[in-house]
Assembly symmetry: C2
Homo-oligomer: 177 residues x 2
């Protein structure tokens, strides 16, 4: 019940950061007063959403075996359903700029990427670029799912093949072997 509240609030505020608390309450099917009881101020709500998102993402990351060969595949499937929360953490105005917990999410992922640049990942692009590319893929996949353009079960394949192989057919690609 409260989980539903946090979910809806996240998606409403993500779609329109200027949405009023009344809009949020209505979307969550809850009274504006009740919302105030749970979250005394607007920024308290924002912080609660961020903390909840952090809990979920940290929990998801902790379940990934970063040593496994298919760590990235695992990451994609786990993070895909959490994409609204991740987006909230990374794109919401007034967040992230200094939050220690948010900033702490990247390093393990960057480590993983850097390690894989010895095998599966190309070395001529920086790790942060590869990470952002992965995140972009997850983001647009989720957007497409919400819009009804993409079947949820197709999403991981779309993200992973695009990430690893790109969208080129390979006919004009430079030989990198």
């Amino acid at each position: 019940m409260s989980v539903h509240l946090l979910q809806t609030a996240t998606s409403v505020l993500l779609r329109d950061p200027t949405a009023s608390l009344g809009d949020v309450a209505k979307a969550a099917g809850v009274g504006r007063t009740t919302l105030h009881k749970r979250f005394p101020t607007r920024s308290a709500l924002i912080r609660a959403l961020a903390n909840d998102a952090l809990d979920l993402v940290e929990s998801a990351l902790s379940q990934v075996d970063f040593e496994a060969d298919d760590a990235i595949e695992d990451l994609v499937t786990r993070l895909l359903v959490l994409e609204p929360r991740v987006s909230f953490l990374t794109r919401f105005p007034g967040l992230e700029k200094d939050d220690v917990r948010i900033l702490a999410l990247d390093p393990p992922l960057l480590d993983l990427i850097t390690r894989l640049q010895g095998s599966r990942l190309r070395r001529d692009l920086p790790a942060w670029w590869i990470l952002r590319t992965l995140q972009s893929g997850l983001y647009q996949a989720w957007e497409a799912i919400v819009a009804g353009r993409l079947a949820p079960l197709d999403a991981p394949r779309f993200v992973l093949t695009t990430l690893f192989e790109g969208v080129g057919s390979g006919v004009g690609a430079a030989d990198r072997t």
Copy 2:
């Protein structure tokens, strides 16, 4: 000078859509009153920013030879510097949902992509996915440039190689020839 105002307003509102007009005016180095003289209301400012962005993007697109083999390369270099404007059109809350001019931007690009799916682009991904992937690449490249992480002259290469070839080294890739 007015061009600078539109640029600054775009980037300020893009970074924080809840920014007050006072913030916008200050960032643009102009008085709030003067801002009001030029744009009587907040939504007038938003519409002006959207129209200006549309003019710039349409103009850029009109200069691209969609029949050329390197149409995508041309697109990337031209759209990269316009990325804040494109982002404003596509991501700003309350825009796009019905604007005819904005919706008219996609079809020619989708046509181009669909055509190239006969040669340079893979056929097992829908055209809209490829378009979004391209746009994501431009977006994150611009972000990286602004953050100082990416040299502007490197950006097109990053975007294009990632788009066409992906970030995989190719060692584990399925053979698609």
